[in-house]
Symmetry: C2
Subunit: 241 residues, 2 copies
DNA sequence: GACCAAAAATTTGCATTCATTTTTGGAAGA
DNA sequence: TCTTCCAAAAATGAATGCAAATTTTTGGTC
């Protein structure tokens, strides 16, 4: 039943207009939201630290109202915690939470791979293939940064190839939450993992070439699991330090 | 580099405290957010309709500030669109968007199934088995409502068994967005689909019994795809009407 | 010197106010 | 009669104000 509130006429243009605000692309509010999100994700505030409302207002040159709106959104994205009457705090990931987030990332990548197999074009595949070879070259010359960049690019391209807007958004959200975990950091000390990751990427490319959705889905989930395992070492070590 | 903003001391209790605000459980703001979300999800406002700010303020007995904060969050959840200077509009799903959302749901259920295979207890499995049989009984006596309820319960239990908080939250979000699509509505006219769905559920239970994660993952994704296909008929029909 | 209670100073949450923008309604003109 | 234009009205976006809660400081006691 439609409530006492009258349903205004349907907005005809709304459907065709770009969905501006959803995640906040343009529009003053969206700008601030993006800025503030970057500010947090980039690590300008220490995990577990209080988010200084007043200082941020001055920094961004705005009043508290729009800032607080942005904070509410960041809280719903899981980047910060809002404690009633006690303000906003940068969310700190415990080991369990990190594991949970990694698993979701794995699920999202698995989905992206599956969809990519259905939708990717020959050109799109070639591009990923090119990135793969570049990454392999970086691996051979032990260029950690080059490898990391290429790796990131490949995973992003797969998500892109899935051509699914909500997936893109959700993926970006979880990637942002895990941004602090520097998975690459281990590889130079964990040559085995590096080689293993490289082999997994061979499998990924192969499955994608054959457009084997289920298979790719599986590989990608396992790939993320292993990535997490490698990252967990450092996490645990850091926690113990 | 940590910015000019000084890092306040780390809040020791924050880690152990329940994550109250994230999705908004308690705390006045969270209450309003949940209320408003339900209000939209329940369909009190027509899709494509304007969200009447002032009226909602009166209805909930609050001022515009907290309402607008909640609207920003709902926009980030994808339930409404915010058009700069033009207010909030209930999001309307076109066919393509619906397809995209269904695919993400499929990916999330696939993930849930995979994780459930790793974590579910014998008691948890028995409960799902019980629900399955109850649903089958409903199917046999052509009890559409009973079937639908049981079906929903099973999928929810699988997500629950995955024991992953961010997955739970994300799943709930997408389920809410798709709430308007009444997948069950077709079954009484599409007996073939109903039987097919029932057979798929047999497979689901079987894979879960064997704790065959990858397999269950695949089945669940396909199951959702088929569910979408059935729902799409009605959607298309409705669009054509 | 450590510990605790009370008052001051911040900070939060929400209401209210104000400047812009959009929308509405109608008059003038084609 | 229909379109175009303009002014009034309403709605949005953001700043400010204020009561309640929290945190910090202060002062005193053991």
């Amino acid at each position: 039943m439609l409530d006492s509130v009258p349903d205004s006429a349907v907005e005809p243009e709304a459907a065709s207009l770009p969905r501006i605000a959803g995640t906040g692309a343009a529009s003053l509010h969206g700008t601030l939201l993006a800025q503030l999100r970057d500010y947090v994700v980039e690590g300008n505030l220490a995990p577990g630290a209080r988010v200084p409302e007043r200082l941020l207002c001055e920094r961004f040159g705005i009043s508290r109202t729009p800032l607080r709106e942005a904070l509410k959104v960041l809280a719903s994205e899981g980047l910060i915690d809002l404690l009633p009457n006690r303000g906003a705090w940068v969310r700190q990931l415990g080991p369990d939470e990190m594991v949970a987030l990694f698993d979701v990332m794995g699920g999202l990548e698995a989905l992206a791979g599956r969809l990519a197999c259905e939708k990717i074009t020959e050109a799109g595949f070639s591009e990923i293939e090119r990135l793969h070879h570049a990454m392999y070259a970086a691996y051979l010359r032990r260029d950690l940064h080059g490898y990391f960049t290429g790796n990131q690019a490949i995973h992003d391209r797969i998500v892109e190839a899935a051509d699914n807007e909500p997936l893109r958004t959700t993926y970006a959200n979880f990637a942002g939450r895990l941004r602090r975990v520097r998975y690459a950091a281990n590889l130079d000390k964990d040559r085995d993992r590096w080689g293993e990751a490289m082999r997994e990427h061979e499998e990924i490319l192969d499955a994608l070439r054959r457009r084997a959705g289920s298979e790719l889905s599986d590989i990608l989930f396992r790939h993320l699991r292993n990535k997490r395992r490698a990252a967990a070492v450092r996490e645990t070590a850091a926690a113990g330090a």
